[in-house]
Each structure stands twice: as C-alpha cells, then as structure tokens.
C-alpha cells in the first residue's frame, strides 16, 4: 500500500499526523502534510494510514 498527500488539496488540518504520526509528517512552517514513505507503507501501519485518509477533511490523501 502506498500513500500520497496531494499538495494542492492539503490545507494543514493535521488530522493525518494525529492519527498516523509514523506515516505523515507536517511541515514546520505551514503544517501541511507529506507522506513519510516514498514506497510501501509498512504493513502494521496500513490501518492507521487508511483511517487518516478517511478522516482528512480535504480528502487530500490518495491510497494506491
């Protein structure tokens, strides 16, 4: 499973890193999110990553 945060959609609500801090990192300056892993998300973090995507108010997280 791969995750990607669409930078055009993310507005820095921060719910993703609240739910899955090991999968999403927030920029120090504007709080916008990026995915920690370029490749696959470790299997044990998949459920949290999916929950983060469900919870994103802007629906900015793409799972593939």
């Amino acid at each position: 499973m791969k995750v990607h945060v669409d930078p055009e959609r993310c507005q820095g609500h921060t719910l993703c890193s609240m739910i899955a801090p090991d999968v999403f990192q927030l920029d120090d300056i504007d709080g916008h999110s990026t995915a920690v892993f370029d490749g696959d998300v470790p299997v044990d973090l998949e459920a949290k990553a999916t929950e983060a995507a469900r919870s994103c108010p802007e629906q900015a997280i793409v799972i593939s």
Binding site: Q11, L15, L26, D28, I29, D30, G31, S55
Partner: protein, 453 residues
C-alpha cells in the same frame, strides 16, 4: 417560452426560511438540521435579502473548495465588486475582517506571514506557558470548591496566549477579553450595547497603540510580522492591519472558550464518559477533541459571495448571490457521521468542518486544539469530580455567530493550590516571553519555552 423569472424559480425551487440569528434556531437546531439535510441540503432562503444555505456535507465540501467561483472579499470602500464578506446580514458598521474577508493573492500573503507563528511546530513551543497559565487559573479557585469555567478558565487562557503570540503585554488581557466576548453575545438592541461598544473602542485604541509602538521598536510577535509584511508588493494601510489583528483576536478568544465550556458541561452530565476519557486519555484525547469540535462547532459557518455563474453540487448559482456555508449543520450529516446527534468520544473518520475547508482553513486551529487539550486535562487531573450547575449556566441566546457560553459555574471537592495565582504567573510568563523571545516565528526560534523561576 421560458423567462428569466421561470429559470430563477427553477434554480431556487428548494426553499427554506432560514434565520440562524433567532433563539428558535438554537432551540430547534437538531430538528431544523435534520429537515434541511433530508429535504434541501442546498436551499434558497428569503431572509436577509435572500441567500443560499448549504447544509449537506458533500455540498458544503464541494462549495467551500470551489475557490474559483467563491469570494470572501469584503469590499468596504466599494473599490471592486462591492462584495459583502463572510457575515449575513452585513453588519451596520462595515469593517474588513482581516484576510478571512479577502481573496488570494493578498489572503495568501497574510497567511504566509503568520503561518510560522501558528503551525503545529510553532504552537507546540508554547505548551509549557499554557500549562502554567491553566494551573494558575485553577489555583485561584481550587481551595474554594467553586469555579466558573468560562469566567475563570476558558476565557482567560486563550486570551493571554493570543496576546503573547501577537506581542502585546500579557497584563492587558482583561481589557481585550471582555470586549471580545461581550461583542459576540450582546444583542444590538440591548441596553448594554453602548458599554460594549465603548469597551471595544478601548481595545482598538490599545491595539492601534501596540501596532504603532511595534512599528517604531520591533519586538517579536505576529504584529511585528504584519507591520513588516509586503502584501501584493506593498505595506498595507493601518486600518487593514487592524482588521487582521482583530481577526486573530476574534478567532483566538471566543471560539476556544466556547469549545471548552460546552465540552466540560457535557462531561459533567456524563460522568462515566468523563472517567473513561481521563483513564484512556492517551488514545482518547485526540478523537474526543475532534468529536467535541464536530458536535459543538464553535464557529457555525461562514458566508461567501458567488463570483461567477456556476453549477456546483447540482445547483446553479449566479454571480453576486450570497451563500451561507453551515459547518454546524454539515457536521451532523448522517451520510458521513453515523448517529450524528450523539457524541462518540472514539469516533473515527471524523472529517468535520469545524475549522472550515479549503484555503481559508482556520489559521489558529493548532492553537485551539493545544489550549483546549491542556485546559481539559488539567481539569480532569485536579478537579475530577466537578459538577456544572445547570441553573447558573448561561448559553448565548443565539448561535448565529458563535455557539458560545457566557457562564458555566461548577462545584467540586476542594484541593490544594500548586504554585502562584494568576497575576503573579502572568507577570512571570511575561518575563519568560521577553527573555526567551518566545513570540519569534518558528523559523527563528525552534525550541520550546523553558519555565524558570
């Protein structure tokens, strides 16, 4: 042959008489919301000169993020298209409400100037200061077994912190605090309104004085960033900057107060849930905070002006029409939130709209969450058996602007003070702010505040 009138009637066929400024709206909020979500998630209302109301979650989501067709502009000097900003009806005294009543690029320039003060990393630096302030607020009352959660805690901490972040002396907090809250809850026909307006003038005079001082002698804080910012390549006029400072203050004060008061009131009514939240706080505090935000939606919505003819979420809109985006009603949509009118502290998939959506997402959202969590946690630790007094609780009569509370008295088993009272603590925090230059942006100072004696 169809006429414009026919087309208009067709566009506005979903009608709902919507008046969020009446006490009846507050009293019947759940019924009205259920009815609108069910029958007309986007409706035309004849109130206040006629305007659209979006209540459905999908509809609000689609609309709020259609920046190319929506304007927040409040053109107070009639220099552009005369749009009326984010308030319906337009206030008697028109005043541009900072960058929340602007469109990009100016709106973006302001946010870029303030983001390094309000990002999660920037806000986390203030946590030790907030803990000191919360502890001092409780110290003032813990030995008596009585507190007013609004007057003595939830009004105080957000106000002092906001001033600290702006670079205004902390001891001025009370001059700002009551002026802001009273301006929200006082009706325009109330005998109190003259005094409230006088307090507001005093606040604006102080704000202007601080801004002038900081222009001449820089000191860390958001005001410093604003007076030195280039917006569209030039320094903005003083009135525009005052509007921005007033936005930060208005956003920083009453909203977090409202969230905290309602949450504490609910926890008092649900002691088993309160014990569960305290016990399982490591996993429950974050989702519970989001659930309180969803359910109580302190800022219930924003207006927009349609800036070009368009069709969004199945409705045709015409340029110049006004639209109310109801975060409060979209937060109760059962298609996204199962059992929407119940509080579920562990709710998942909670994509609520309480901080708005799109490029105007509440810039202070990280401050609100942090301050709320620190106040709540300290209350749970130090006065875990609090009981709010329903007879003394005063809710705002209407919830059109802020779903707030004016008073929330409570009793509890008395406990010991830990350290100083409020005035001494505020004086001590001022020294720490100055010596450690805490109000610098996170680009200049990354380290957290250090509490020294």
């Amino acid at each position: 042959m169809s006429t414009d009138a026919d087309t208009d009637a067709e566009r506005k066929k979903n009608k709902y008489h919507f008046d969020r400024h009446t006490p009846e709206y507050r009293e019947h909020f759940e019924e009205i919301t259920t009815e609108m979500l069910d029958k007309c998630p986007v409706a035309w209302s004849d109130t206040y000169g006629g305007h659209w109301v979006a209540a459905g979650h999908d509809e609000v989501f689609a609309l709020a993020r259609s920046a190319e067709y929506l304007s927040n502009d409040h053109d107070v000097n009639n220099e552009r298209k005369g749009y009326k900003g984010i308030t319906i009806p337009t206030p008697d005294v028109e005043f541009q409400g900072g960058f929340l009543e602007m469109d990009p690029p100016a709106q973006r320039h302001y946010r870029q100037a303030l983001n390094p003060y309000l990002s999660p990393a920037a806000v986390a630096r203030w946590t030790p200061v907030v803990d000191e302030l919360v502890r001092a607020c409780l110290n003032e009352h813990i030995e008596t077994g009585r507190i007013d959660f609004v007057d003595h805690l939830a009004n105080v901490v957000p106000a002092v912190l906001t001033l600290a972040m702006l670079g205004v002396p902390l001891k001025n907090w009370s001059l700002y605090c009551e002026a802001v809250h009273a301006s929200v809850y006082t009706r325009h026909d109330s005998p109190e309104i003259e005094r409230v307006r006088a307090d507001q003038m005093t606040m604006f005079r102080d704000m202007f004085g601080q801004m002038t001082e900081i222009k001449a002698n820089p000191r860390p804080g958001m005001i410093d960033a604003l007076v030195r910012a280039e917006i569209n390549g030039k320094t903005p006029p003083d009135m525009e900057l005052l509007g921005v400072i007033a936005l930060v203050i208005g956003g920083g004060f009453d909203t977090t107060t409202a969230l905290t008061a309602h949450s504490l009131e609910w926890l008092s009514e649900h002691p088993a849930q309160r014990e569960r939240l305290s016990r399982e706080r490591d996993t429950l505090l974050d989702p519970a905070t989001e659930e309180f935000l969803r359910f109580f939606t302190p800022a219930p919505g924003d207006a927009r002006t349609i800036s070009a003819d368009c069709e969004i979420a199945g409705t045709q809109f015409k340029e110049g029409e006004r639209l109310w985006l109801s975060w409060a009603m979209s937060n109760r949509d059962p298609s996204v939130f199962p059992h929407p009118n119940e509080i579920d502290l562990a709710r998942t998939g909670n994509r609520h709209h309480s901080f708005g959506l799109g490029l105007h997402r509440c810039i202070g959202s990280n401050v609100a969450r942090m301050v709320f969590k620190r106040m709540l946690t300290d209350v749970l630790d130090r006065i875990p058996d609090f009981r709010c007094d329903p007879a003394g609780a005063v809710h705002y009569e209407t919830i059109g602007v802020i779903q707030g509370m004016q008073h929330l008295p409570a009793t509890f088993t008395p406990g010991p003070r830990i350290g100083d009272g409020l005035d001494q603590t505020i004086a001590r925090m001022q020294v720490i702010c100055d010596e450690q230059r805490l109000a610098e942006p996170v680009t200049v100072r990354k380290a957290s505040a250090e509490i020294t004696d």
